[in-house]
């Protein structure tokens, strides 16, 4: 443990206590960035952008508008096949965000269910479920996704499934830990004495008390999933080629970085901004809702 506790806490606690009544200081950058990407992803068909699939060999490797030879027709330039980069990034945001949100929702629902069950029943149920969780956590996501891509063929569904199949384990661990603490509290005992069954205790008492943690974890992990999805696409095990995905776009520009740097750079920037935004938002949520969760 780093030796810091003595001096640090007091002024911070004071600051929080004074600042709290004035309302939350919302993190503008993350919320703004996420909102922009979300809106753009949703209204992509109505933005009047060029078709992201339309190839035009005559306008290959057009540089962005501020470079020499760039035009407003292709504001961020074009790639090897003359496809408009801005349009591809916008359409790609649909893939990345959808993959991130869907995967995390799947994983958190399943993981939370496992964690609640293990924590509530304890004993042998807990032991079995937690060993499965440990085994899952030790399995590399990328490897599983590659196996799936090779055997079942790369697809959006396979990417989501491959990541979710590994990711749930973290939720299970964290939620189970929280449930163990909650089970020690009298209100659970009190509920039982009042005649509540397992289902009622889990859904009414345990789950609501873990929602804060879940929310923090979900937000933090969306960024992680977007990176994993991009890595898979980069490796060719993710979203299959014609569909614009940020990872595969970076991969496509890889060979031309010296001559046409924009092909790889802009999708990379998109990943950077979105992931950073989700991580900052997650940090903020954690600090606001549950400062005890520093280790997440």
């Amino acid at each position: 443990m780093p030796a810091e506790p003595a001096a640090l806490p007091l002024p911070e606690i004071d600051g929080a206590a004074v600042a709290a009544p004035r309302g939350w200081r919302l993190p503008l950058f993350p919320i703004g960035a996420i909102a922009i990407f979300l809106i753009v992803a949703i209204v992509a068909p109505f933005l009047g952008l060029p078709d992201p699939h339309e190839q035009s060999l005559r306008s290959r490797f057009k540089p962005p508008v501020w470079e020499e030879g760039g035009t407003w027709a292709h504001a961020l330039g074009t790639d090897r096949l003359g496809r408009d980069l801005l349009s591809r990034i916008v359409w790609g945001s649909r893939i990345s965000l959808a993959a991130g949100v869907l995967t995390v929702l799947l994983a958190s629902a399943f993981g939370a269910a496992v964690g609640l069950t293990a924590g509530y029943y304890g004993g042998r149920v807990d032991a079995v479920l937690m060993r499965i969780t440990d085994a899952t956590m030790s399995f590399p996501v990328i490897l599983l996704a590659l196996i799936l891509a090779v055997t079942a063929g790369p697809s959006f569904t396979n990417v989501v499934v491959a990541i979710a199949v590994i990711l749930w384990a973290r939720y299970a661990r964290v939620i189970r830990g929280q449930v163990l603490t909650l089970m020690q509290l009298d209100f659970v005992a009190q509920a039982r004495i009042a005649g509540a069954g397992a289902w009622r205790i889990i859904t009414r008492h345990l789950l609501p008390n873990t929602l804060g943690t879940l929310l923090v974890l979900v937000t933090l992990q969306i960024g992680y999933v977007i990176i994993v999805e991009a890595s898979l696409s980069f490796l060719g095990a993710g979203i299959p080629p014609p569909t614009p995905a940020w990872g595969s776009m970076i991969a496509e520009g890889r060979d031309f970085v010296t001559s046409a740097w924009w092909v790889s750079l802009f999708p990379g920037m998109a990943i950077l901004i979105v992931v950073l935004a989700f991580n900052l938002l997650g940090d903020w949520l954690r600090d606001t809702f549950d400062p005890k969760l520093r280790q997440l």
């Binding site: 009190q190 004495i193 005649g195 008390n209």
Partner: protein
Amino acid sequence: MPPPVVDVRDLRTHIVTRWGTVKAVDGVSFALAEGETLGLVGESGSGKSMTCLSLVRLVPRPAARILGGQVMLDGDDLLARSEREMQAIRGRQIAMILQDPMSSLNPVFSIGMQMREPVALYHRLRGRALTARAAELLAAVRIPSPRERLCAFPHQLSGGMRQRVVGAMAIAAPPRLLIADEPTTSLDLTIQSQYLGLLRELQRQHRFALIFVTHNLGIVARMCDRVAVMYAGRIVEMGPVRRLFTRPAHPYTRALLDSIPRLGARRERLTAIEGQPPDLSRLPAGCAFAPRCPSVMERCRVEAPPETVVEAGHVTRCWLETPTSGGAPA
């Protein structure tokens, strides 16, 4: 005499641990009539809480097991009931108030939401009628402006208030038996006194039998009709409060009474009970109190004393009181 509400006979609950079997409740028997209060006293680990949990069949599984005996509630053996049937009995017929008001309410729901849940379950009420009933219950435990309190969250209430809310939920049914497991331990003295008064009042109103677990003998004197003193999983002495306080039969009871500080007493030092509470997994062959007993005899170390009637309604487990016992204290 009216038939008892609760009649516990030879209840046995054991806890299996890595170091051996602990007889947490070892042949406990008592009965309680309507409107009667039994005080359950003893040191920590003497089996008071385990006894209470056994009554509602909520002993921590799988380590703890109820091995035998009967728990008759209005003539109906609870130990023979299925778990599903027990769920319907808990809360409706037997309610319980636990020790720690700070954690006995769910922090994420308002008082109203938590109150409505059991009330809806017991009375099949909905909507306005349900809210009205919840407010009524809060009013019954003397919570000012109950309607507004329904919207409050647990962290906005003081410990005393919260314990009142727990009390309100406990009497929602109302139950036939209320078990209060040290409900006032973490409250300060004035609040404690108010709360005890409230419990008595609720009991007069609803006529439930009350089991009051505590290690505060002063509270026992104020609250209870009868006392049961537990030691190492057994009731070593049970009788009417007045009788037990003035003429205790068991040396352990005597020792407990001697260790109460009294204002104005001439004695300067308190008498402590020598030795440690026994290791329940390695109890001596005879009387469990023998190693600490000031009047221990040969026989005490060999054979456990049976339950002996000292006087009508006053029983003890001590060789000193057994008519056949011979020999002077060693």
